[in-house]
Subunit: 402 residues, 2 copies
Amino acid sequence: MVNDQSLASGQRSLGDPDLRYPLWPPLTSGCPATSTDTTAYPVEVDYDYDRVPAELFQQPPGPGLQRWAPLLPPLHAPGLGEGGTPLIELPEHGVFVKDESRNPTWSHKDRLNRVAVSAAAGVGAPGVVVASSGNHGASTAAYAARAGLRCIVLASAGMPPAVGSFLQSYGAVVLAVPSDARWPLLRRITAETGFHPVSNVTTTHTGHAFGPEGYKTIAYEIFAELGVPAALFVPTGYGELLFGVWKGFAELVRLGLARKVPRVFACEPAAGGPLARAVAEGLPATSVDVGPTDAYAINSAVSGYRATVAVQESAGRALLVDDAEMALAQRDLARSGLWYELSSAAGLAGFRQLREEFDGPVVCVATSSGFKDIGVGDHRPEVIGPDWAVVRHRLLEADIRC
Amino acid sequence: MVNDQSLASGQRSLGDPDLRYPLWPPLTSGCPATSTDTTAYPVEVDYDYDRVPAELFQQPPGPGLQRWAPLLPPLHAPGLGEGGTPLIELPEHGVFVKDESRNPTWSHKDRLNRVAVSAAAGVGAPGVVVASSGNHGASTAAYAARAGLRCIVLASAGMPPAVGSFLQSYGAVVLAVPSDARWPLLRRITAETGFHPVSNVTTTHTGHAFGPEGYKTIAYEIFAELGVPAALFVPTGYGELLFGVWKGFAELVRLGLARKVPRVFACEPAAGGPLARAVAEGLPATSVDVGPTDAYAINSAVSGYRATVAVQESAGRALLVDDAEMALAQRDLARSGLWYELSSAAGLAGFRQLREEFDGPVVCVATSSGFKDIGVGDHRPEVIGPDWAVVRHRLLEADIRC
């Protein structure tokens, strides 16, 4: 039984690592002891690392997070073949791309939701509730459907049209509400229905207690192919992905399999950038006003302490990339055959901005497919007649000899 | 070098298997000797099977068609980590789903295009041209971009909006032309530009000479996980996928690794169904009038002899599924966590229609993600106020207690 393989031993406060809590229930509001009115501290999951089987990191590759069951919380919810995504070398850009668009709902969020929906099943909740207008909501809905749990998605009115269909498809109850009402409603729904929250309910971001553990598997997979890269560039909203990937490498060091962690670089939209501000000001987490950006998937007003830990412990940095830098990186990735949503290109945009030489491979995590973008569906090519002269003119305009 | 590993020895006519041609150039108009004014016969690629290394089928799983290089034409074009897709067991539906939405452009077409664009690179063509309003066109554009080749996509005006953005993203020249002008224009462009055609140019379908070889890898992957299934249900337009998967199993038999091939069931939209007609009437290939259907990805007026071979040689059948059957299968797959486009659900719809017990596993090939459907983007949930009474009413309507 997969569930019996977990070596998870409890929850540990990131606010004070000496503070430990039992594994159940997941502390969905973060660490109760260290959190204050202005800063919420998350918890992470601790494991009985001494008992990790030696063969865990000698497995053949493939999908399915259950292959990493010893280093994950118990997987009570069934999987959809998440993870096991390709690492694609793009020599023309000097990077490897970890292609997370190759997950069951075509984003990295499936790794988190396999774990977070498992937590909901583990506590016997009748359903899950999530505030999201994109990848996270759809992924939660898919894993809830697979597990036979109900799902409520609190979306915002401004979501891209294709994402509306995406959220609906899995049978979730999708409610579009004003953006600033989403978190209060999430708390209310949790209280009134007993549904398990799989997105954040706290002042600064703590998110789900178990969810980021799923992202560790990205590190395990990269390590199996490349060893420890020199640097990782990660599109960053609340920083759960950033933390998870860093933690995976930190565990490999702890287990004696790796000698160091890669430097992790958070890549936030310049329109906001709460993590960059927190790091610059020496704060655990903070909030900022957010200006306009099309990188809606990582457009966050608040940061979380997890991301601060990952940047500081890895000697990384918090970078700000603007929409033009992301759009250029997005275009260049597509011209190499990989079409991602704008937010997903933040990693390559950050790497380019840094203009730093690294002594080893550089990995950019690309989080999600191009179908999720704002503006998808607006490119309707004009219909032209079948006349050869017209077609030929268009080809000549495009520098194609005919 | 990957290119040196290919054991491809020539092209063989499907019209008369004793007729062999050199491997180069790819016969993009099918077999010149056996084709007639009414029926075009495709060619396939032959290999030096005696030299297939024993360890080929003992590799660990993973993406990248180059792992199967001995049994593919030379791979001159670089890859994008295509293939290595998960096989997901859905006990509630009694099937395994081969999830081809997990490819680089989120459809099975990437396996074909790695091979077909390699053929274009192999003949030194300056570019590729394809007639497609969906998955095939986008996939061709992606592989052409990766290989540094130009790409022309002849799309039709009625393509779904999201697909318009998809086709544009990879930098191809996208020309929307009247549907019945696409094949004549494809031939003209091929003649005038020297671009290599990666879609069909013949009366009945022959398609690309090398392309379907890429689909064989689906059989190799299924075999590694399950052995030989009892039955395969395959969404069918021109039948290249059907043929490729069947041929992969036929090769496993030839190599002494498997004892039999699975029965392969073609699942065509009932609105057309040229293969079903060809099989019923004992014809190699035929054409029909096509009525309205939303399954645009497999909505074909002509069939190809490849599909006829696969159905007959495997004791399979050509099934017709209507839009309502596909829509129900699509909904049920999404309620199990897997959102596919309507055409992709034809496999499960066909399995259900057959109501047959099989003595072994049943595999449905799901070809592509739900983002490609007509109607995606039309589901915009109504925005409701943040008032708890309103939200509570909506939850109660959805049978959620609160």
